[in-house]
């Protein structure tokens, strides 16, 4: 008999929990604690017709569009970071067909997942009042039934699958996050299915000893995958800093070759290496250690 509390599996096995047509939400924020290994695994598995939702989206936006994996994106902002600006191919796709991208304010996006995590159909907010964002989203104006205040009602978002990368989890999926939690807890609580990738899988005893650090309880988690450097080239708080040289090279490639550049990046970093471990081999230990050293400088003792 298998142990029901042991949810460990491989990236490839976890990717089978995502079906064509699903709405996914990816945790972390922009280039921080992104479930990068899992996202690449879904590209490798050639999932189709996905809706990818993420509060602040980095260049996974255009990887998912250019590979044909996603047909719709939902976010509040899309950019690689101040230095690199908006991803060029994402821009081209959306300028051609604005309907493939739904823009919310950051809090409105978060409240949609909070509503989902509360088991409630909507939440009220003061955000998006008077803006043109309002008419381009399903949000509606409402009056408070008690004070008659004008507010905006945002509908709950209950994603089919949440992809979350954390520093540590036990085999049952009890997951601990160091540094900012971003919206990961809301994502995990709202989604029907939750895939957790972790820098390391630790014993249940270790989780119990530091239970106040546990952000996501195992009972909402369906899969646990151990993936060291699972956010790389994005950062993972306290573990490794984002690889800005990798971003520079990517941005340069896409600036020069557009969608062909994105395809080339996918061939070189997803298809070519054949696995996330293969991708890390290509990056090399020297670089990974350097990014680890840089992260340590930023974490208060």
């Amino acid at each position: 008999m298998t142990d029901a509390t042991d949810k460990r599996m491989s990236l490839a096995e976890a990717s089978a929990l995502v079906r064509d047509g699903d709405t996914l939400v990816a945790g972390g924020c922009c280039y921080s604690r992104t479930p990068w290994a899992m996202l690449l695994e879904l590209l490798r598995a050639e999932r189709r017709d996905l809706t990818l939702a993420r509060n602040l989206m980095c260049y996974e936006s255009e990887l998912f569009l250019a590979s044909g994996a996603a047909t719709k994106l939902v976010a509040s902002w899309v950019g690689i970071g101040l230095k690199w600006g908006i991803p060029k191919v994402f821009r081209e796709y959306v300028e051609r067909d604005p309907a493939i991208y739904e823009e919310w304010s950051h809090l409105s996006f978060g409240l949609r997942l909070l509503a989902g995590s509360m088991g409630m159909p909507f939440l009220p907010t003061a955000s998006m009042l008077g803006s043109d964002l309002l008419e381009r989203t399903p949000a509606v104006e409402m009056r408070c039934p008690f004070t008659d205040q004008k507010l905006v009602a945002v509908p709950a978002l209950v994603p089919d699958v949440a992809l979350i990368h954390v520093q540590r989890a036990d085999p049952a999926g009890n997951a601990q996050i160091d540094g900012p939690v971003y919206m990961d807890v809301e994502f995990a609580r709202a989604a029907e299915t939750v895939i957790v990738t972790a820098e390391e899988i630790v014993s249940p005893d270790e989780i119990v000893r530091t239970a106040d650090r546990t952000a996501i309880p195992g009972f909402v988690v369906d899969a646990v995958v151990e993936v060291p450097f699972g956010s790389y080239p994005h950062e993972c708080h306290g573990r490794y800093e984002a690889d800005f040289d990798h971003f520079d090279a990517y941005a340069e490639l896409v600036e020069r070759d557009g969608v062909e550049g994105v395809q080339a990046y996918l061939r070189e970093n997803v298809d070519g290496p054949g696995s996330f471990a293969g991708f890390l081999d290509k990056v090399g230990a020297t670089r990974l250690l350097e990014q680890t050293r840089r992260a340590r400088e930023l974490v208060a003792a």
Binding site: W77, I86, V94, E103, H106, S127, V181
Partner: protein, 264 residues
């Protein structure tokens, strides 16, 4: 005359607006640099909050964050919280200032960071709201910092991502935006306020050496002008040095790992 660049002039003028003991929600880039500068110089009790969930961080010189969510933005914070909570403190009314940049803004302080052209057939797709819409909807005093160029200062924005006065104070009120108000626009040419009656931008002060005509020539609509236009004091050596040290770092500093505990 100081040798400050336009962005430095703007950033330093912005930093002077922030008072000690207050809380500022700062966007990444110049608003964040202005906030860090204020904290290091005249407002040591200023609390900076950043979109990624970071409350009260201190920046390492030479390692300014490129996004508000990364480790650099969380350095030496007194609290790291969820993004929803970070915004909800603002919606509750705990943030004195909201400080953002702008791609395009109009005479009522409405900001567009979404589309250039018709949103259904955009000429250019911009990165989007992020937290800017939430900041202008909740933080008590909203301040905007941007380079002063005609293509940015337009009569009417193509899309209102983050509302200012919409078409005037009554329009803002009836839209339900009753918690706060836009107060200032800081540029490399001037400091602008808002006319209380009309909600339109008003020229209040000039950057050193800049003329009123120059400001108007770089504005795509007719600016209201204050009865008594001030001239902003030029950046001090201290302001400039500190700002440059923040951006470029200082090789003679103590090792970064030790700065963690020895930061001012």
């Amino acid at each position: 005359m100081s040798d400050a660049t336009p962005v430095e002039l703007m950033t330093i003028a912005g930093s002077r607006l922030l008072r000690d003991g207050r809380v500022v929600f700062a966007g990444v880039g110049a608003p964040l640099e202005a906030s860090v500068l204020a904290k290091r110089l005249h407002a040591p009790g200023l609390t900076i909050v950043l979109e990624g969930g970071s409350i009260g961080p201190r920046m390492l010189p030479g390692r300014l964050p490129v996004s508000t969510n990364e480790m650099r933005a969380a350095h030496h914070a007194s609290m790291l919280t969820s993004i929803n909570d970070l915004f909800l403190y603002g919606q509750r009314g705990h943030y004195d200032y909201g400080f953002i940049g702008a791609g395009q803004l109009d005479q009522y302080g409405n900001v567009n960071t979404s589309f250039i052209g018709d949103p259904d057939r955009p000429k250019v797709r911009l990165p989007g709201s992020g937290g800017a819409n939430d900041i202008v909807s909740s933080c008590r005093e909203v301040m905007i910092m941007t380079r002063h160029e005609p293509r940015r200062f337009v009569e009417r924005v193509d899309f209102i991502t983050s509302p200012g006065y919409l078409t005037g104070p009554e329009a803002r009120r009836s839209a339900g935006l009753v918690r706060n108000r836009p107060v200032a626009v800081v540029t490399d040419l001037a400091l602008l306020g808002f006319d209380e009656e009309t909600g339109r931008l008003r020229l209040d002060a000039l950057q050193p050496g800049v003329t009123q005509q120059q400001v108007q020539a770089n504005t795509g609509f007719e600016l209201l002008v204050s009865d008594a236009i001030d001239e902003l004091a030029p950046p001090t050596q201290q302001e400039l040095q500190e700002l440059r040290r923040l951006r470029d770092g200082d090789p003679t500093d103590v090792p970064e790992t030790r700065k963690v505990t020895s930061a001012p």
